[in-house]
């Protein structure tokens, strides 16, 4: 540990957000606003995407999330976080993809009651840590609805490429139980196929022209080639970032695999979606 430069004589404390992982400024104050749902798209048997038009829209960074708030006639309220699925290049709107949980208070309501034209109270964007800025290679690892903020990265990167920008390379490892439950399956295995590895835990996966992957949870070999290629095994400022998102069991298992492969702990950013 080095001595502090601030003249207090105290040893400097270690810093989590070192230059390698600098976080963006938090930006303007975000208050609650009532958006309008423009479109509801079914993604999987359990997930739907809500396209919400916002009057006070500000561009988000891929990885950031919005709060959604519900209010009952007697004033009772519930709020939950949902990641932005649409890229910030899609101005004036935000798309949220919501997985319906059994007995879910908020996700159940959204699925049962929210239709095109419905008002929806939201606040955001939030999050200054789990964000992709496009200037560093990144390995993206998502399970279930944890794929949402990572698909936002791929979409934003594609939009930047289309304008002639040169964002750093990324690769998404997207996990789901079955192909039918994989979010954005057509997009991930279509336009983004080059940058995506699909991991199905309950189904063998052998598409035409693709080498098959036997059913099973995330394995070292699903991650290793991409971690190596992108530089996620490199320590220091030259290494890639790893964005890991999903349920607690998924992120815990994936984090262990990544560490065993030799990914430095300080390269991994984790976003966990609620309880196990």
């Amino acid at each position: 540990m080095t001595d502090s430069a601030d003249g207090t004589g105290l040893p400097a404390l270690p810093v989590l957000d070192s230059p390698r992982r600098r976080v963006p400024p938090t930006g303007a104050k975000r208050s609650w606003q009532t958006g309008t749902v423009l479109e509801v798209r079914r993604e999987t048997p359990h997930a739907a995407t809500y396209r919400v038009q916002l009057e006070q829209w500000q561009p988000h960074l891929p990885g950031q999330n919005y709060l959604v708030r519900l209010t009952a006639p007697d004033g009772y309220r519930a709020q939950r976080s949902y990641s932005a699925a649409s890229p910030p290049e899609d101005a004036g709107v935000v798309e949220l993809t919501v997985d319906r949980l059994p007995d879910g208070e908020v996700s159940g309501y959204l699925h049962d009651h929210v239709r095109p034209g419905s008002p929806l109270e939201v606040r955001g964007p939030f999050g200054g840590w789990f964000v992709w800025r496009g200037d560093r290679p990144a390995l993206l690892v998502g399970g279930g609805s944890g794929v949402v903020p990572l698909a936002c990265v791929l979409r934003s990167r594609a939009a930047r490429l289309a304008t002639g920008a040169t964002p750093a390379p990324v690769h998404l490892v997207a996990a789901a139980r079955t192909r039918a439950e994989l979010l954005y399956a057509d997009e991930l295995t279509g336009p983004f196929a080059e940058d995506t590895t699909v991991v199905l835990s309950r189904e063998d996966d052998a598409g035409p022209g693709r080498p098959g992957r036997p059913a099973g949870r995330l394995r070292a070999e699903d991650l290793l080639p991409h971690a190596e290629r992108l530089g996620a095994l490199t320590t220091g400022d030259d290494g890639a970032d790893v964005f890991l998102c999903g349920s607690t069991p998924f992120t815990t298992a994936a984090e262990r695999l990544l560490r065993e492969l030799g990914v430095p702990a300080d390269a991994i950013r984790v976003e966990r979606f609620g309880p196990s």
């Binding site: 957000d17 209010t71 009651h113 939030f126 999050g127 702990a265 309880p275």
Partner: protein
């Protein structure tokens, strides 16, 4: 200007121990961490109190266990909206450590930090008077690494990001200095009953 969400009644029969916007996770204990779980063991863990104190002091695992023990029984609340009700932790009250180092009258705030570089700031008054602990046991078992073991801080009357995992030290300051989440848009104090989630709440 809040709209009523048509058809929403919410889950009824809410436990009065739940602050607004929180739900009960029951028996599970979710993990929320920004960084990967660091490798801190009972052998390598130390805890230093410095800054605005008379005698900066470092304790190790045996050192904190030699102090009079103390337990917390009650609820904890995470800003991501889960609460865990009727849980328990044991360790040592921060009052005991602060008494040993001798807090200078100039001290007003503390910055708790972990070796990962995670930091969080608290008014001194929030970590004194029997309201904050160093803990190494959860519900009678050793605190697991993913929950901040071997030793984490516990400040259960504030949102749980104030309860630094893998805590390695407390720096007493004569001013307030935002920690990791506080620099990233979260509330300075984080009081669950006032729903102080984000800066400006």
């Amino acid at each position: 200007m809040s709209v009523v969400s048509e058809g929403f009644s919410g889950r009824r029969g809410r436990d009065p121990r739940l602050p607004p916007g929180q739900y009960d996770v029951g028996g599970s204990f979710p993990v929320l961490t920004a960084e990967a779980t660091p490798n801190v063991t009972q052998e390598t863990w130390t805890f230093r109190v410095d800054g605005e104190v008379e005698t900066p002091t470092t304790w190790d695992w045996a050192g904190v266990h030699a102090l009079p023990g103390s337990a917390y029984e009650g609820d904890i609340h995470c800003v991501t909206t889960w609460s865990k009700l009727g849980t328990s932790f044991s360790g040592v009250s921060l009052d005991v450590l602060l008494e040993q180092v001798g807090v200078r009258p100039s001290a007003t705030h503390v910055l708790a930090w972990a070796s990962s570089g995670y930091t969080t700031n608290l008014p001194l008054a929030d970590v004194t008077g029997g309201r904050a602990w160093l803990v190494w046991e959860h519900e009678g078992r050793p605190l697991s690494a993913e929950h901040g073991g071997p030793v984490r801080m516990l400040v259960p009357h504030l949102y749980f990001w104030k309860s630094t995992k893998w805590v390695a030290g407390l720096r007493l300051l004569d001013h307030d200095e935002p920690g990791f989440w506080e620099r990233n848009g979260y509330h300075e104090r984080g009081e669950p009953w006032a729903e102080q989630r984000y800066a400006g709440d």
